[in-house]
């Protein structure tokens, strides 16, 4: 790493630490039904109107089952809403490119993908989605799936903070307030900043540019029925073709990119996502996008500390996340900067590192940093192609997702995922000292540990189960872009990303093949549903159990949930469980590929 790389890294972590407290304090107001914010004069009337249209009594709280049911119903309506828009986009307005409706399995995959905050892109944005589909069908979930994640996290935190109670808040109020007071105003400002950097925001059709230097290329000659013409030797006849134009993609991009980052969605407007110069034009836009991915997740740790009246606990959780994050970035950046010895033997300058799949304006470090951030959080936007990373450089994003995306994590999802590990950490600590484990004065009992473990085992089962199935199936192997261990990594990455609701990919994998085979679209959609809802339900059950418990005053034997011991124990728990679950699979993919790279073996 160069000295400017270290400076950028320090600037990033410093700024993140600075915004954590003020944004965390703001969150406590947003997530309180009677909270006061300086936006009240503008937004309060809209909030009131929304409640009255919904027929909602905002002061009525819900128990864990009602809260979860409301969340599930809302998500179900959202899936149907987007599914219908995508299927029938050719009948809807704002489709200047006259793009056709999507196939049923692609529409299902995409609707699930956006509802679960995964934003896996089985489709190529600019060649598949109309402006209406992008702006309405997809963007609505960018907001609401983020708001749902934050709501669930708020409910769990209330479950921890309240004593001898039964209710966890009101899902609808949390959803509306998070969307209106937090996401919408931040996105307004952020989107305008992004336009100032060069991201487009318009409703005109794609432009066509006349190339400065027209190119002559060789293409296979086609006959009248659009079949290649063969010569006597059975080879296709080639003819010259002049390429003189370039399509320039347009559309309402900036408004969508803002929430895509802030809500850790990650579904790009175009196929190349944030590597595309229109989605991410400058290093400054890149830096602010990276910061926005982590902003809310980081602030939620402060919210946790404030709600449980133990700010040191909030910071201890934040510190554990940051240490795991820094480790990931350093490993990834080291291997990307070292580059690929196979290509260096051919004559590529060794000092340049591995530039395959990376943009010049970001270079090695900002690509490695972005890759780690986007997978530590469950964002999934990419500014470089992870598929072309070195073996170990690519292992880092993969492992970050398999840790459960608890390193800051998705908005809300990162916090509730990490709190599951906190419960396990205090349980393990309790076993070691031979006392009933306690978390912030509440006894952690068998039911709580069962729910915590259930939410983790479901992830492991989905990732490894689907990967194993795809590996031994024709449809699974047909989608690969790379052979050997890297092909296995593509499959493992896909199901890790889908189950973790991340959405980034080793994008060589074709989940939506030309022959219309639906296996990948459907299995990935189920992995996303499992990773989202089968994780949330046990966590809400845990919240429902915790909220009823009494808070015992701390005694000499209480295990403190702040300070270095706790932070190290928490990191240990996260790494240990992640490693135990996934090291064997990683050994078959990136780890063995690392040794093949060193030995110069190609596939």
């Amino acid at each position: 790493m160069h000295s400017t790389d270290w400076l950028q890294f320090a600037l990033f972590i410093g700024l993140l630490a600075l915004i954590t407290k003020p944004l965390g304090i703001y969150l406590t107001q947003v997530l309180d039904v009677n909270g006061k914010t300086w936006l009240d004069p503008v937004i309060r009337p809209l909030e009131r109107l929304t409640y009255s249209l919904m027929g909602l009594d905002r002061n009525k709280e819900q128990g864990w089952k009602q809260y979860t049911l409301a969340m599930l119903l809302f998500s179900l309506v959202g899936v149907l809403f987007t599914y219908l828009i995508l299927r029938y986009q050719h009948l809807l307005p704002l489709n200047p490119q006259h793009l056709p409706g999507l196939s049923d399995h692609l529409a299902f995959n995409t609707a699930v993908s956006f509802t679960t905050n995964t934003n896996w892109q089985s489709y190529g944005g600019e060649s598949t989605m109309s402006y209406f589909s992008q702006m309405v069908g997809l963007t609505i979930h960018n907001f609401t799936s983020a708001a749902v994640g934050i709501s669930i996290a708020a409910a769990l935190v209330r479950g921890i903070a309240r004593a001898s109670a039964t209710t966890l808040g009101n899902f609808w109020v949390d959803l509306v307030r998070t969307t209106y007071y937090l996401l919408l105003p931040l996105c307004m400002v952020f989107a305008l900043f992004l336009v100032s950097q060069g991201i487009v925001q318009n409703f005109k059709p794609y432009d066509t540019a006349k190339l400065v230097e027209a190119q002559t290329v060789q293409v296979a000659k086609m006959d009248a029925s659009n079949q290649p013409v063969m010569d006597a030797a059975g080879k296709p006849v080639m003819e010259d073709k002049t390429v003189a134009e370039q399509t320039i993609v347009q559309g309402p991009m900036a408004s969508q990119i803002a929430i895509k980052m802030l809500g850790t969605n990650g579904g790009g407007y175009v196929n190349a996502n944030a590597a595309h110069p229109f989605e991410n034009p400058t290093p400054l836009s890149n830096f602010v996008q990276m910061l926005s991915i982590f902003a809310i997740g980081s602030a939620l740790t402060y919210f946790l500390g404030r709600m449980v009246k133990n700010q040191a606990h909030g910071w201890a959780v934040w510190a554990a996340m940051m240490l795991l994050f820094v480790g990931g970035v350093l490993v990834c950046a080291h291997f990307e900067a070292a580059g690929n010895p196979i290509h260096q033997a051919l004559g590529v300058a060794a000092a340049d590192g591995n530039m395959e799949g990376k943009e010049v304006r970001f270079g090695i470090f900002n690509s490695s940093l972005f890759a780690t951030i986007t997978t530590a959080a469950s964002c999934g936007a990419v500014n470089a192609m992870h598929d072309s990373f070195t073996a170990i450089g690519g292992l880092v994003p993969l492992f970050m997702m398999e840790l459960g995306e608890v390193v800051i994590g998705g908005v809300g999802a990162g916090l509730y995922g990490m709190l599951v590990f906190v419960v396990l950490a205090v349980f393990i600590a309790g076993l070691m000292v031979g006392r009933t484990p306690e978390y912030l004065g509440k006894k952690i009992q068998a039911y709580d540990v069962k729910m915590a473990m259930l939410s983790l085992l479901v992830l492991c089962l989905s990732i490894l189960g689907f990967t194993a199935w795809a590996c031994v199936s024709d449809w699974g192997l047909a989608g690969l872009n790379n052979a050997g261990p890297h092909g296995f990594s593509e499959i493992l990455y896909a199901y890790s990303s889908a189950t973790g609701n991340n959405g980034s990919a080793f994008a060589g994998l074709t989940a939506n093949p030309a022959n219309g085979d639906p296996h990948y679209n459907v299995t990935l959609a189920f992995a996303m549903l499992i990773g989202r809802f089968l994780m949330i339900v046990p966590i809400m059950a845990l919240a429902g159990s915790l909220v009823q418990k009494k808070i015992a005053p701390p005694s000499a034997g209480t295990f403190p949930v702040s300070g270095a011991t706790f932070t190290i124990l928490l990191i240990g728990t996260v790494v240990l469980i992640g490693a135990l679950n996934f090291l064997p699979a990683l050994a078959l993919g990136p780890i063995v590929e690392h040794f093949f790279t060193a030995g110069g073996k190609l596939f």
Binding site: T139, S196, V200, A209, V270, F287, A507
Partner: protein, 195 residues
Amino acid sequence: MKALFSDIRAAVVSTLVFAVVLCGLYPVAVWGVSQVAFKRKADGSLIVDKDGTVRGSSLLGQVFAGEKYFHTRPSAAGAFGYDGASSSGSNLGPTSQKLNDAIKDRIAAYRTTEGLAATAAVPADAVTTSGSGLDPHISVKNAELQAARVAKARGLGVEKVKELIAASTTKPDLGILGDAGVNVLELNLALDAAK
């Protein structure tokens, strides 16, 4: 049961209200302000010549192959590269035979075109595809290696060409963010304007 129905109503109504506010008012508001404040950027940073023809976008690379022009990076976007309608990387991994062969060929071609020694190290960006396939930049080192060829083909002094390279170089933002790069489309247009 009544509670279930009121939840269903809340789910449907909130989805529709959000669709209006988040998918209608919000993008239109961003559009309105940006059309006033950042018109050129909001419309794609288009480069338009004297007679009104769009020649490209400052943000998007184009293919250049002639000896009078600086060459952009190899591209995996579309069948012929730099296809603005299908941005993409190669997605080939570190042990890919296909990637290995492509890089080998590109290194040989680059050394021939730029008149380098048969063992000279070649800048990584010159022989690898970018993430988007539309990367507008090349590294400064890559541009400098191409300068002699372009200067000769155009009958310009190498110093003049290097001046133009410097003028088309994007410095790191705020002095530290990102890497410096030379915008190839802008550089080539500047060359055409110079002669």
